[in-house]
Amino acid sequence: MKRVEHAKLAGAFLSRPEHVAFHDKRLWDLRSKRDAQAHAIPEWEMLRTLASQIKSHTLSHLADYLDQFTRMAESNGVQVHFADTAEEHNETVYRILSERGMTALVKSKSMLTDECEMRAWLESRGISVMETDLGERIQQLDKQPPSHIVVPAVHKLRDDVAEVFGRTIGTDPHNNDIHYLAESQRMNTRPWFVREKTAGMTGCNFAVAETGTVVVCTNEGNADLSANVPPLHIVSMGIEKLIPRVSDLGVFVRMLSRSALGSPITQYTSHFRAPRPGAEMHFVLVDNGRSERLAMPEFWYSLKCIRCGACMNTCPVYRRSGGLSYGSTYAGPIGAIINPTFDLKRFSALPFASTLNGSCTNVCPVKINIHEQIYQWRQVIAAQHELPFVKQEVLKMAGRLLGSPTLYRGTVASLEGALRRLPNFMLYNPLNIWGKQRDLPHVPHTTFHAWYRKNRKGGGDGGS
């Protein structure tokens, strides 16, 4: 697939200043609330360490915990399916639905189903899919993927939502009152829960191995409706969602919503253990590249991710480029380190969409070393010749020049006005890119090197 050109897509987002300002402010606000919540818990850093260790332990014993989880779930009356790939996940869901004559699926938010592009897959086979999370529904109606894993439509202003709803569900396109819009969406969605031949689907935040339980954390109550009203509940979950014990849950539930939205807890933390009498419950456990990632010494840590979005909210680049510029379900810093494991060529620009500032690593509740992994991915991408050709050549030239004091000083000294050319190799790109919206540094009369030789006799002895 074609390379996702993050810089270009970000440029398009930046061309709408009002959207950028709102997006940046809204997400910075979430970060600030997160700070307040985290700082109010004295043992916050200890919780992060603990969460990270629990995930390390689970991931390094994943086969055992998957086995235990499956046995427990089955003994609770749940039907468990394993899917190796996205296609297998979609086929499994389709088979479960079609064998029972279902023609529609009401679902709550699940990043995994977006990752598997399940909606389009099912719809092309005659199953209607209704997203019931407000943000996800806005995106579904606008035929756009979510731009953020927690707040899927955060890149839209209320006017945009009014326009989308006016165009798709018949509301007044000039009424941008958020209560009106939210209520309209609710009225549009609710009948689907009680529709005939309709199944329900939820994602999964945590899967507890010792009980075979799935835990779903939401704020809108739509997951509970999706799970509890229809006669069939399908849970779509990645294999990395496991934690060993119920008691481990306390560590993660305390951190999830604090990290995500800066609220102490989500409105609903629902535990699903067994089907209701007369109903069915299915768990679809998906690999889709996860075990391959688990085998990568530098990058397996990213499987600890609990999808809180804190790294996106804090990321100054994400806040100004918008989630759609990452060309994937997973945007922001976590996207920059996860996406290359799916397709290195396609996502080779993402690890460069970062200043390596490191605030993502600081806010990660499971202590993923995100900025270090971004740095490592750059090395992998360069080694596999996925850097743009010009960049590759200029870096080579810069490397040769800076690798030789004689060549370096010679280049500087021999060219009249050479200083004006320096950014060419130091920043490797033609000057006009720097200068498009920024002035160039004022060129001084001398280099420090020349000043030193003139004013301090002879210079240092080089220490040798």
Binding site: E45, P316, L356, S359, L419, L427
Partner: protein, 247 residues
């Protein structure tokens, strides 16, 4: 105390006055300072772009030029961070390891090693917004950051607050990245510039007349944005302020 002065390539070329201020400042504190002439660059521009192999030449030059000193001091946190954390293109001999461990950023060297607190020669009668680079903050831990709970501290502030006449203003997002990011400044030009503009506006709104930083690369970027925006604000390196520059 045998101290070697490391002047990063872009400071050598564009900001010789920062190199001079660093040298003079170290000498004021009685350091015997050498400037090894055979230095070029730490290797960061190549390595940060993923081309670690291409960084080997520069790293070799660095390791050779700075062998044998007690301390190597440079006025740039990102370069020092590269030497400490990512200087891996070379074989890690004892000599290479020694050079890496002995490399300090100017502020931490003044603050931690020399214990410098008094700068009687320095006077800077301006309202200052302090900009700490992300390398100084999150990699070298020279100050606390807002997203991490814990004691509030700032080494650059601990030095600057002894400068006569200086007044500090507080921007709304003091530890937000300014968007320089090395090659990021050109590969992601649009995002980088927007971040730089936001940073400048934040400082101007807080009433700053100067932005002071220990990282000239951040200032080069911010100054470029500010001048294009015709923002009324000036930029100066912390070494110059501590060495007694008035403006």
């Amino acid at each position: 105390m045998k101290v070697a002065l490391f002047v990063p390539c872009f400071i050598d070329a564009f900001y010789p006055e920062v190199g001079i201020a660093t040298l003079e400042l170290l000498e004021r504190f009685g350091c015997e300072v050498d400037y090894p002439l055979e230095q070029t660059c730490c290797g960061q521009p190549m390595a940060n772009s993923g081309a670690q192999a291409e960084a080997a030449g520069a790293e070799r030059v660095y390791a050779r030029a700075f062998a044998g000193y007690d301390y190597i001091v440079g006025p740039s946190a990102s370069c020092v961070n590269h030497v400490r954390d990512h200087f891996d293109a070379l074989e890690q001999t004892d000599a290479v390891r020694k050079v890496r461990e002995s490399t300090y950023e100017l502020v931490e060297f003044l603050h931690d090693v020399l214990g410098a607190r008094e700068f009687p020669w320095a006077e800077f009668p301006w309202r200052v917004g302090l900009h700490n680079s992300c390398s100084a903050l999150r990699h070298l831990h020279e100050a606390s950051v807002s997203e991490v709970a814990g004691p509030v501290f700032s080494k650059p502030l601990a030095l600057l607050e002894h400068v006569k006449g200086i007044e500090f203003v507080k921007p709304a997002r003091p530890d937000e990245c300014c968007g320089f990011g090395g090659t990021f400044a050109v590969t992601e030009e649009a995002v980088s510039v927007r971040m730089g503009q936001d940073k400048v506006v934040d400082h101007v709104s807080a009433g700053a007349q100067y932005i002071v930083s220990a990282d000239m690369s951040c200032l080069m970027h911010q100054q470029g944005c500010a001048e294009r925006m015709s923002a009324d604000i000036r930029f100066i390196h912390i070494a110059q302020v501590l060495n007694g520059a008035r403006e």
